[in-house]
């Protein structure tokens, strides 16, 4: 057994443990100096990235990877013993890849972006904790464990949103976020308690195998509702989205980009619950979540674009744009769920449902890259000019050429203009959801055009226009920030030029994971 095999076997635990260890070592290493600490953190995340891709290569070959803390799979099987269990399938690893890309970009970006700030040790510790929480959320196979990691993510991100404590609005946004996420998490805990009380299990796979149409009752429905409401709120789905633009907009840019990942981890929770935890009862007519998801997606999209149209704060505007993007994911996956949950329709004869889900899932990673890039650009503009209101900016394309080009790439990608990556996923969504109802595709197209208008407005008012004396001497963003933006921009272009490759390698396994929940559930009896 060579070292790679051992690493692969232990990787689910290591992916979470490495950043956690890094988080607690950071204050110590911080004593050694600025550069040492930053290199240490980048190495920590690079190691994590290596482990994620190692695990991904195994999961993409069709395996579901499990890891039981302090035991073997048979330990979990017995009723009396409770063990934390990590279960990694296509969807989990897909989300883990997003998390690792975003956090790496954020850390590289922070090198220069945070140089002037005090309290950097705390910043990096919290950042790594937040990453740990996100990895835990997407990799865990245990419902209570999911709640724990959800809380870790919330607490760390809450503190990071308020990182600029001298700004009253940042503190306010953090407070609102804290209230929202605590209440949401309590409801998650409550419904976990309901489920535990009824089924005597916390393991997602075990619970899912016990929630059957026969056993399905009031308690299951109530838990489903509470879980769904709390997690959609944490994912920022309208009309429970109001915390999101504030939180995204007031946090430092390098945190906003990780927050994108954190909301998507909650989105992952929604999908996991709808498709896997309630996978056996998906066809009970009362649990017709598909249309609810679709409608919520449409509302989110429209509210996002309408509100973004009138924003004048750079980052808040992008945050509303990100909100609209969330709607597309819900629209795509919801369409798939509608067909899956209808006992009269089969997935085979309605291949559009599969395509819609592919589009929705593909859009998750595209959104992370596009919106992430835009946030980083917004941060770079703030770094150079110390202005965040679009009304006070103008003409900085003269001084910041690379940043302008990166913004342009982000603009085209987020509004889905060919040949960027956003176009590929939106094309998949448009060309499948119309079969459920033509109106869905029409509204999706409209929202994407409005997104274009919104981003063009930013492009004009921040980058174009006559020379402004105040900005005569501003300089291009520092190298580390350009590198972080460059990584995201090149990924955007790569995804845009080879959509077929990405869909086949990354997205297909994730879609398979949610359309075939039985393989996730049945590893218990099937054995690994």
């Amino acid at each position: 057994m060579n070292i790679l095999d051992i690493l692969l076997q232990q990787s689910p635990a290591l992916i979470v443990a490495t950043p956690l260890l890094g988080a607690f070592l950071t204050p110590l290493i911080g004593k050694l100096g600025y550069n040492v600490r930053n290199i240490f953190i980048i190495i920590i995340l690079a190691v994590t990235a290596f482990l994620v891709f190692l695990l991904a290569s195994d999961v993409f070959s069709g395996n579901i990877h499990t890891y039981v803390f302090g035991g073997t799979t048979s330990t979990v099987l017995s009723n009396t013993v409770i063990r934390i269990l990590f279960e990694v399938d296509g969807l989990s690893i897909f989300m883990a890849i997003i998390t690792v890309i975003l956090s790496l970009a954020a850390v590289i970006y922070s090198w220069a972006f945070m140089r002037e700030e005090t309290g950097q040790d705390k910043y990096y510790t919290l950042l790594l904790l937040m990453t740990t929480g996100m990895f835990g959320m997407v990799l865990t196979g245990d419902l209570f464990n999911f709640f724990v990691f959800l809380e870790i993510t919330s607490i760390a991100s809450c503190a990071l949103i308020a990182f600029w404590t001298h700004k009253a609005k940042a503190v306010e946004a953090a407070f609102n976020y804290m209230v929202i996420s605590t209440i949401g998490a309590l409801f998650v805990l409550l419904s976990i308690a309901f489920l535990y009380g009824k089924y005597d299990a916390l393991n997602i796979a075990k619970l899912a195998s016990r929630i059957t149409p026969v056993s399905f009752s009031f308690i299951d429905k109530l838990s489903l509702i509470l879980l769904l409401a709390a997690l959609t709120m944490k994912a920022g789905i309208a009309p429970m989205h109001m915390w999101l633009p504030d939180a995204y907009g007031r946090a430092p840019a390098s945190i906003s980009i990780i927050l994108v990942g954190a909301t998507q981890a909650s989105l992952y929770g929604v999908f996991r619950i709808c498709f896997t935890l309630y996978g056996n009862v998906i066809q009970i007519p009362e649990v017709s979540l598909g249309w609810i998801m679709v409608i919520l997606g449409l509302i989110t999209m429209l509210i996002g674009v309408f509100m973004a149209m009138i924003q004048i704060d750079f980052k808040k505007l992008i945050a509303y744009g990100a909100l609209a993007e969330l709607g597309y994911m819900f629209l795509g996956v919801g369409t798939g769920l509608t067909i899956l949950s209808n006992p009269q329709l089969s997935l085979a004869s309605n291949s559009f449902a599969l395509q819609a889900m592919k589009g929705g899932i593909f859009h998750i990673i595209n959104d992370a890259l596009d919106v992430g890039l835009l946030f980083l650009v917004a941060g770079a503009v703030y770094y150079a000019t110390k202005e965040s209101s679009l009304n006070n900016l103008g003409g900085i394309a003269r001084n910041m050429k690379y940043t302008t080009v990166f913004f342009l790439i982000g603009l085209l990608a987020v509004s889905g203009i060919p040949p960027m990556n956003g176009f590929a996923s939106k094309l998949l969504i448009y060309e499948s959801v119309y079969q459920l109802n033509p109106i869905l595709a029409i509204i999706a197209i409209l929202a994407s055009i409005m997104l274009l208008a919104i981003m063009v407005k930013v492009f004009y008012s921040a980058f174009l226009g006559p020379k402004i004396d105040r900005f005569q001497d501003i300089r291009e963003a520092p190298k580390s920030m350009l590198i972080a933006m460059g990584i995201l921009a090149s990924l955007i272009i790569f995804f845009g030029l080879f959509p077929d490759l990405i869909v086949n390698t990354l997205v297909e396994p994730a879609v398979k994971a949610i359309t075939h929940p039985t393989s996730y559930i049945l590893w218990l009896t099937g054995g690994v």
């Binding site: 203009i417 060309e431 033509p438 197209i445 055009i449 063009v456 004009y460 980058f463 226009g465 006559p466």
Partner: protein, 356 residues
């Protein structure tokens, strides 16, 4: 995919690109001339000669290419080029006359309606970016109006495109319904019943009113509005950059006209006259030019001479309320058509007229 296919693909793209560029620019300018001549006659003027647009372009090439102080030079120069290229690439996906689209044959890169919708955005986007980058208040006002107009007309346009694809997706054994070659091979007029026929007419009407906005012609030319904002987003452009925008407009007219033809009038003369070979190509191409002329006459010339310019908020209102409603009624008619046809056994319009 072996090396032979790849090299044939590359050659097709190269020659197709050259051919389409020439075709788009020449036909576009020619129709611009015809349009101006007819408009002049309708207003009781003699009008310029038909070759006037060619002369205009040549003259613009001779003129100085001024870059204003307030402009961001690289954006200012790049915008017109990108716009022109994007509008030419649209033609690569469109069937022209009896010829299939350039990219149809060897590779499976057929034209896709959603793709065309987005490619049509790029020239407008280039125009907007160019206007914004020139740093003149007039240009900026014009550019933001163009963007608002764009949001406005995409709504009914999206309804038209999705409706047609949706109706095709109901048919048996039809896949890839957004592909233009599928749409042109099954004209919807042939399969719809009376109700759907009315719906189709409503959609066509909407598309004809969307076209002038897509091409920023009166009554939807608030972005350029010579009388109030002095040419709007083009105010700072001159010389060869302006010529690029002039050509973009010409090519876009051909592209938009060809899309209308492909969606609504994909018929050719040669099957009716039972011709084949070269004569068929020639007669189909001439017939295509005639169709294009009629489309431009009705959607551009007649409307632009007949009515006055709307205010920008009126434009948004026009598209989002009356025209969207019109298109939605069309959509509903077409959605109900299938049910009503099967329920009451009503034959399709073509069968009623005995044309099959």
């Amino acid at each position: 995919m072996d090396i032979g296919t790849v090299s044939i693909t590359i050659l097709t793209v190269i020659f197709g690109a050259i051919g389409v560029t020439l075709f788009g620019i020449i036909i576009g300018l020619l129709y611009k001339g015809i349009d101006r001549k007819i408009a002049a006659h309708m207003q009781g003027r003699v009008g310029p000669p038909i070759r006037q647009p060619f002369l205009d372009v040549i003259k613009l090439f001779v003129k100085e290419n001024i870059v204003p102080d307030n402009a961001i030079p690289w954006v200012f120069h790049l915008a017109p080029i990108i716009g022109l290229i994007a509008s030419i690439t649209i033609l690569l996906y469109l069937p022209i006359g009896g010829f299939p689209a350039v990219l149809d044959g060897i590779i499976t890169s057929k034209g896709d309606l959603i793709l065309l919708l987005y490619l049509l955005i790029i020239p407008s986007l280039a125009l907007v970016t160019g206007g914004f980058s020139s740093g003149s208040p007039y240009a900026i006002v014009g550019a933001q109006r163009e963007m608002a107009t764009m949001i406005a007309y995409e709504f009914p346009l999206a309804i038209i495109i999705v409706t047609i694809a949706w109706r095709l997706s109901l048919m048996q054994n039809v896949s890839h319904v957004f592909t233009l070659s599928t749409i042109t091979s099954i004209p919807l007029w042939n399969i719809l019943g009376p109700l759907g026929f009315i719906g189709m007419i409503l959609l066509l009407l909407t598309l004809i009113i969307v076209t002038p906005a897509e091409l920023s012609k009166i009554p939807f030319d608030a972005p350029e509005a010579e009388t109030e904002i002095a040419g709007g987003l083009l105010v700072e452009y001159s010389g060869r950059n302006l010529a690029m925008f002039y050509l973009t407009d010409a090519v876009k007219t051909v592209a938009m006209g060809s899309i209308i033809i492909a969606l609504f009038f994909p018929y050719n003369l040669s099957p009716i006259l039972s011709m084949n070979g070269y004569p068929a190509y020639i007669i189909d191409f001439l017939f295509y030019l005639l169709k294009l002329f009629l489309v431009i006459l009705f959607s551009v010339t007649l409307i632009r001479v007949g009515v006055a310019r709307l205010k920008i908020d009126q434009i948004v209102y026009t598209y989002w309320v009356p025209l969207t409603l019109l298109a939605l009624i069309g959509l509903i008619c077409i959605m109900w058509d299938q049910t009503i046809m099967t329920q009451f056994g009503i034959p399709s319009v073509v069968e009623i007229l005995g044309l099959t």
